[in-house]
Amino acid sequence: MNNHRHKGIRGSLWKASLLPYLLFILIPLFALLAGIRPADLARTLQQPQVWQAVRLSLLTSALSVLVTLLIGTPVSYYLSHRQYRAFRLMDTLVDLPTVLPPAVAGVALLLAFGRRGLLGGWLNLLGISLPFTTAAVVMAQTFVAAPLFIKSAAIGFSAIDCELKKSAALDGANRWQTFRYIVIPMSWPSMLTGAMLTWARALGEFGATIIFAGNYPGRTQTMPSAIYVGFELDLTVAVTLSVILVTLSFIALVTVKWFVYHYIEPSSIETFD
């Protein structure tokens, strides 16, 4: 890389062109942090409704990651084998929830799993009613956030040399053993990265949740719902929860970047020219 070219007026202009976007995202974040005094932050956190929302968000987002690991890992393993014929269809399908407006996801979930939904009648027979429950929150979050894990893990899986898996098979390992002893140990940074991204997205999920799960403190009211519904009444509560969400998301992203740089693409650290 030729760093000398960056010096001089052209270089400063080039750098100055970064400012509009950087300021655009930094100023609102700064305003959020400046919008609350630490004393207020501590006091608001003690309000039962705020604490309930924090607790519910942490619980549901953790469960969403767990569910995603269970049902998403097989899908990402499948997607890491590009030669499968249904690859493109599957790949597109997995991408779909990430580009859908979350409200659409909420309506779709309601029409599928709601009391009057496609499967509602059968669920009713089993005595299960999903809308307005914490389970519905987890479903909404998983629906929207799982693709982030699936895509990230698939990239990790596909980076494993096929010869390794073949030689494992030659040594008598079955598919499960290959996965357990070769694939997972070699691709856990990608899996962890994906899980963190899914967690952060689940934490921020709102549109699908409020439509499918509703809004009830302690049961279905997550931090984003509490911010949305409570914003008009008590700005301090909204800002407190926002600060918590920004902090958690920041931690999640820093962790992800750290893993990406140290484990997944150590060679990719280079300057942009």
């Binding site: 309601l110 709601g114 009391r115 009057r116 009613s129 809308p131 307005f132 409020i210 799960a213 509703g214 809004n215 009830y216 403190p217 049961r219 279905t220 949305y228 519904v229 409570g230 914003f231 008009e232 009444l233 020219d273």
Partner: protein
């Protein structure tokens, strides 16, 4: 570098063409921004074509949402010409923020509450007293939303009514499964059959005839919602905004509101 430059120049080209002002007409058409409570959606939308026909060049741009959201948008500087709120409290927020003059708001219509049920009434609710049946799924609007606060007012009044049994409001509230962010969300959850009952305005129930059943709330227990309307102080087209407010208050406007289940101001 070359590639980046190409991208930037294409981007700038696109931007500049988008920003080029068209040949400015002598008198540009006027858009009036009307912020109105979600419950006014159908009635105001029906009024719009007649008003626009009577005022050439004027387009009404509606923003329907929970009054509490609209008041907050106003307080934060959203461009607006008229604000119609579902209660005095949220109009006061706009007054306090300096967007509406203190003496500007006038009540233009009334609304009252009604219980709504899904068309097949899965929980078999036939009276107000049935709302305490354990295991019901009731949805209300959040207390931040005007209709949610009105619903709580109704429940408080009902507590004093001996015929409904003691602890009526506590037992009803125990059945609430969700506090929705606006009145239309309550109506949707009920008409979809996801909830067994909800409390909305008579006007919302009127807009959904056929999709829901209704149970009247007697006058003694009901809560009358007063809707204030006002021209926003810094409106660039205050004359036209005034004309819209007058239109809403005229017999023609009131007729439309009555058609949608609202009550005239006494």
């Amino acid at each position: 570098m070359k590639k980046a430059f190409l991208f930037v120049s294409v981007f700038v080209l696109l931007l500049s063409s988008a920003c080029t002002p068209g040949a400015a007409p002598e008198r540009s058409p006027v858009t009036l921004n009307i912020l109105a409570a979600a419950s006014l959606t159908e009635a105001f939308q029906e009024m719009a074509p007649a008003f626009e026909a009577a005022h050439a060049g004027v387009t009404l741009q509606f923003n329907f949402a929970g009054s509490q959201q609209l008041a907050q948008q106003l307080a934060n500087g959203a461009p607006a010409d008229v604000f119609a709120s579902a209660n005095k409290k949220q109009m006061d927020v706009a007054v306090e923020a300096g967007r509406v003059a203190a003496d500007a708001p006038a009540s233009f219509v009334q609304n009252r509450l009604v219980i709504v049920l899904p068309p097949d009434n899965p929980a078999g609710i036939t009276s107000l007293a049935d709302l305490v049946k354990p295991g019901l799924k009731i949805v209300l609007a959040a207390k931040e939303v005007p209709v949610g606060q009105y619903a709580l007012d109704f429940l408080a009044k009902a507590d004093a009514d001996a015929s409904l049994g003691s602890g009526y409001s506590t037992r009803v509230l125990a059945n609430v499964v969700s506090y929705e962010e606006n009145v239309k969300a309550v109506l949707t959850k009920v008409s979809l059959g996801e909830a067994d009952a909800g409390i909305v305005y008579t006007s919302d129930a009127a807009s959904a005839t056929g999709e829901i059943l209704q149970i009247e709330i007697p006058d003694g227990l009901n809560v009358i919602a007063q809707y204030p309307i006002a021209v926003v102080q810094d409106s660039a087209n205050s004359d036209l905004a005034r004309a819209f407010v007058d239109w809403v208050q005229s017999s023609e406007g009131q007729k439309v509101l009555e058609k949608y289940g609202f009550l005239p101001v006494k």
